[in-house]
Structure formats: C-alpha cells, structure tokens
C-alpha cells in the first residue's frame, strides 16, 4: 500500500483550506473516518500511486472537481502495486523480454549478442561494443558514430537491421525507437558502408570552431 506521505497539494483557489479538508475521504458525507492502528492502510486507499489528497466527500462537487482535474494532471510517481495490473504472470514475462540482438563484425568469424535493454544511450552501447571487440576504440567524432580498429587502421561503422528488413546507420533515430526496431547489429567496414543513408552534414564543424575560440 502506498505511504501516507505522498503529498502534493494542487494550487487552487481554495488555498486557505486546511490540510484535513483536502484529504481524501471516501466515506459518504457525514461519515466519520474510522481510525485504528492499521492507519497506513486507511488513509489513502486511493493511494495506488503516490497521489494528491483530494476532498471528494463534498456534495458540492465544484471544488473537488477542480481538484480531481489538477490531480490528474500533476506529476505523480507511480509505484508498483502487488497484483496490479491484472495480467497473468506468464504474459507479463513474455512481454517484458530482453532485447538480445546479434552483433556481427565484418571479417570476424563469430557473432556476439548484446541485450539492448541494458543500455540507455548510443554511447553506452558503443562503449560496450568497444569492450567486446577489444581491439577497437570508439571514436565519437561529434555526431558521427564510428568504431576504429587502431591496430589495423580500419574504421567500422555501426549499422543495424530494422523491423522492415532495411539496413540503417546507427544513431539517426531516438534511442528508444532504435531499441524497439533494431533486430541485429553489424559493424561494417567503413568503405562498405557507403550507400547507406547519407549523414547529416556536420553542423558540428562551425560549432567546434566557435567553441575553440
């Protein structure tokens, strides 16, 4: 059950109301709230999320309607509650899958697998790939994402196959979108990567110059 202390009072015209008046009381008007040692469970039965306290008991719904509206709009932190949502465990497990994708490198005999869910950004992913294929280092030249094999002087460009079967350059779309649509990764030798979607010309160049000045 949620704690009683998640309190974010909405700004409204009734700022002069004392706290108790704005507490959520779900009994019908006139009913007194029963208190007992199990207080934590009573106070915010509606506290599925850490939510605002609302006065819902009034017959005059005008004020409370505003409260409800503001509550619905205010940011709340959503806490996982046991038994909610009512989805079978089997289904829950099936839907929250790890997003393992194969990683191939041109010229390497073996593929690796990475779990895209483990990363929050392209940078993290590429760092991890760097570690996996440890002879390379990543050069993130401004907005270009390349992996460079310093030993052999070969540049690798990370590409991926998306849901539609097309081979795309890593980095164009927002990270989450990438995670959802990526089916597998391939580090292509830079020379072979020609022909993929053209890079956005580095606006970078001018900004770098500016920052250097």
């Amino acid at each position: 059950m949620s704690p009683e202390n998640g309190k974010i009072l909405p700004e409204n015209d009734a700022a002069d109301l004392n706290f108790e008046a704005t507490e959520l009381t779900l009994g019908l008007p006139g009913k007194s709230r029963v208190t007992s040692d199990g207080g934590a469970k009573l106070g915010n039965k509606r506290g599925f999320f850490e939510t605002v306290d609302l006065n819902f008991g009034d017959k005059d719904c005008g004020q409370s309607q505003i409260d409800v509206q503001e509550a619905a709009n205010s940011p709340v932190s959503k806490v996982q509650v046991e038994g909610w949502p009512p989805v079978r465990g089997f289904r829950k497990n099936a839907m929250t899958s790890c997003k393992y994708v194969k990683v191939a490198v041109d010229g390497a005999p073996y593929l690796r697998k990475v779990d895209l869910e483990m990363y929050d950004s392209y940078q993290q992913l590429l760092s991890s790939l760097e570690q996996m294929f440890s002879c390379f280092t990543i050069r993130n030249y401004l907005n270009e994402k390349k992996i460079i094999d310093h030993m052999n002087g070969i540049e690798y460009v990370p590409t991926y196959e998306d849901k539609d079967g097309d081979w795309m350059l890593v980095g164009d779309v927002p990270w989450q979108m990438f995670v959802e649509s990526c089916k597998r990764l391939r580090l292509k030798k830079s020379s072979e990567a020609i022909g993929l979607a053209p890079r956005t010309p580095p606006k970078c160049a001018s900004t770098t110059e500016r920052s250097l000045n």
Binding site: L26, G38, E82, V87, R88
Partner: protein, 581 residues
Amino acid sequence: MLWVSRKTIKMNYFPDEVLEHMFFFITSHKDRNSVSLVCKSWYKIERYSRQRVFIGNCYSISPERLIARFPGLKSLTLKGKPHFADFNLVPHEWGGFVYPWIEALAKSRIGLEELRLKRMVVSDESLEFLSKSFVNFKSLVLVSCEGFTTDGLAAIAANCRFLRELDLQENEVDDQRGHWLSCFPESCTSLVTLNFACLKGEINLGALERLVVRSPNLKSLRLNHAVPLDTLQKLLMQAPQLVDLGTGSYVDDPSSEAYSKLKSVFQRCKSIRSLSGFFEVAPHCMSAIYPICRNLTFLNLSYAPGLHGNELTKLIQHCRKLQRLWILDCIGDKGLGVVASTCKELQELRVFPSDLGPGNAAMTEEGLVLLSEGCPKLNSLLYFCQQMTNAALITVAKNCPNFIRFRLCILDPVKCDPVTNQPLDEGFGAIVHFCKGLKRLSLTGLLTDQVFNYIGMYAEQLEMLSIAFAGDSDEGMLYVLNGCKKLRKLEIMKSRFGNAALLEDMGKYEAMRSLWMSSCEVTLGGCKTLAEKMPRLSVEIINESEQMEFSHDDRQKVDKMYLYRTLVGHRKDSPAFVCIL
C-alpha cells in the same frame, strides 16, 4: 387396502436402462447435478453413468469421495489456486497439488482418460505417475499450471500409448533440454492436438516433423517460438488438414524459397479456422496468410507485438468471419474501428496491454464505442485501456445487450470519467441494467458504493465479480451479497469492505464457491468469527509478509483471506504461511 396399494405405486415409469440412455444426452455439469437431486433412484443411475466431472475448487472435495461416487469416471477437470493467483497475489507454495489426486485415482479402478487442470501444481513425478497408471489415457490439458519440466512431458509422450491430446496453455515449464518430442514412440499415431506454444526452450525440429508426418488425425498444432518459418512450411505440407494452427517464429526473407513454399501450402490449408502464435513476426510475410483469413473464426495475436499499424489492420480486413479476436492494444482505437467495420460476426474480443507501465495504454473509450456500433453480437469482452467514460459505457450497453462477460481494466485503476470527472458508477450501472444475461463482471475506475447498488439490483445472472480499488463502505459489498442470487465467486482487492459486510449473511458463502478479500478492512477477529460459525467453510489467512502470530490482536487487519465451501474440512497440505481458522 387402497392406502396400501398407493404406497406401492412406483414413481419411476422407466426401467433403469432407459433412464441411463436418457441421461446420456444430458452433458452439462449443471444439468447432471440437477438430475442427481431428483430422487434416490435418479441419483444412483446418474452417478454410475457419469463420465465427466468438473471440480471448481480441488479443496472442496477429496479424491476418495469423488471416486466413491463416480466409479465410471473418465474425464476429470480440476482447478486449484484462486483466480487472483494469476496476478501474483498467491505465493507459489500455497497449494493445489495434483499428485494426491493422481495417486488416489491410480489406486482405484477408475479408467481415467482425460485430465484437465487449471492453476495447479503439477510435478514431473505426478506426470510420470499419470502416464503409467491409466492404459487408456488420452488427453492432458494444463492451463496456467506450474511445477513441471520437459522431463514430465517426456514421460507422457513415452508412456501414453493412445495419447490424443497434449494441450499446454500458458504454463510455467522448466526446460530440461531433453528431447521430449523424441519420446513419442514410432507407434504413436493417434495425436489430434499438440500444443506446446508456452515452452520456452529449443525443440528437436526433426522429431517434430516426423511426429507430424505420422499423425494423420492431427487437427490442432500450436508451436513455440523456437520453431522457425521453414519448419512451419514443412509441417503444413504434411498436415494440410489442420483446423487450428499456432505458428512459431514467423520471420523470413519474403524472397526466400521457404517463404514462397509457405505461401503455396497455405492455399492448400482450407480447414484452418483458428490461428495464433507469431511470437516474432516479419510484417512483410503476413500476406501469405491472407488466403486462410477469410475462413478464420478465431485469431490470437496477443503475443505478437511485432505486428501493428497498417500490416495489422490489413490482416484484419481479410478476416470477415472472425468470431473471437485476441489482440494487443497497439491496435489502437482506429484499429478497433477497422475491426468493427470488418468483423460483423465478432462475439469475443480481448485487448491486452502491450506495455505494462502506467500511462502507456493505447486504448480509450472511443475504440470500444466504435466496436459496439459495428459488432452487435459481442458477448464477451476483456479490455485494457487508459480511460473510460460513463457515456461510452452507456452506449456500449445499449448497443450490445448480449454481454455474458464484461471485464474492463483501466490501467490507472481509480481513474474517473475524464470528461465529467465523475465516478464510473452510471456507466457500469448501465452495463448490468441492459445486459440481462451478464455472468461475469470486472470493474475498475473510480467507483463508489452506488455501482454496487446497481449490481445488486440488476445483475441477476451474475456468477463472478472482480473488484479492485472500489467502493466506500461495507454497504457496497452488502448490496452485492444481498442482491446477486447466483453469485458464485467474489474476489476483492484493496477495497473498503470490512467485517460488517463479511459477517452479515454468512450462510451465503455456502452457496458460493469462494470469496477472496485482500488488502481490505476485514480483521482477524472478523475472520475468526466467521470460521467459528461456519464449519463447512474453510477460512484461510495467507500472510507471507511477517510472521503473524495468530493468537495476537484480533483487530489486526488481514492481508489476504480466501474462504471456500468444503465437504472435507481443513486441508492438510497448507504451508506455514497459511493459517486455516
């Protein structure tokens, strides 16, 4: 003299054999139960001729009594854990073990042929025992069970010589990497149904192909994700007579040879009426399926998050005869509009959430309204959504008065009507008012006691009610208990119902299968009172969080209470965290 001769007039005009023949045509459990209550003679004939028994709560009766009453038993259905166990509210070790049943049946002379289990704990040991104890065993159906591995399946495959049906639905199965499929002997040619879609591990594809080749009666085949598209194509070549198909992983390059072969074999599969699977799916490959779509009556895409948008709606537009559709909410309101205009025969719809985070649900009331306008035959609904309005529910109730099952789940469970800021009492009130045949109802949203007043007043046929985060006071629960005469199962979580409601009409619970209350206001004292007054109920307190000393404070609120009627007293297999009062 006249008085004596009246006493000797027989009430039954037919000899037993004729009655038995008549009873043969009475198949529903309810009717059979009614028949057995008419008189002693009918009871006797009925019990000897009964072949199929359904036991909704495995703890309500013992296997010994079952066997004693129905010596001719061939098919047994057993349910174990309460429904809310599906949502992780019941610890794994709570109970529902099938082993004692199999043991008792094996000792007897019962010629068991079919066993159907739901929410039970099934060990490999019990599966092996089962497979070796009944010569004519034909059919095993396991739904939402757990406790077994593929080793248990291997025993079934190896030992049940006349197996017709192995149907595994949404079970938690440990994969032992054995080759259970290879354990079907060459002599096994009797399979009609093979469903292993829920298995997570790899499959011996060669063994699968050989099995299908030697199963000419195979009508239902549901594969797991480990079976690739090219194997599917090979299997369908061998089994074009299939009526029910669950694909495995449905991914390939549309220009591949396997895919073009698949396309042509689908055109030969003229009997497929039911389709599921698509655990991984390449949208480009869906056009192969279009030829079977026109005859489909059941389509289950609820495990296919890879299918959405245009590809999904295009597919649905081919399914004009659909009666049952299970789908993910990525279909969106607009997609439901397509369903509404295409699937005029639709009776059952289930829309599952694809993203379980709050605030991410895709469906709103609009999709449901569109659906109700296009599909008047709708009688069964499960709908996960972001929001709902009273107006929409009222419209839906009027458009579709035939609802038997209505389960609405607003992912934010206390959300009010976003248009009027009112609770959803009126909307659900309309549902129970207009849908006079409603048997099952699940409610969410902001709800006061008033909705329960409506339910008590109008829901005359209601048998099962699920409540979460609803109601204001004991009045709510009392409306339901007093009003719904046919109520069999009531399950409540996180609602403001307490001892007064629980204890008002205790006899009612003997007319019901079970009552579940968790995170409500009932206290230990209230439960004790109930248990004391009603010896034919088993009142279980489930308390896994702390070591609850049960001699303690009667005013303490009970975390989880599960009570059920039983003819055999308290069960002996309860774990330490369950206290039976």
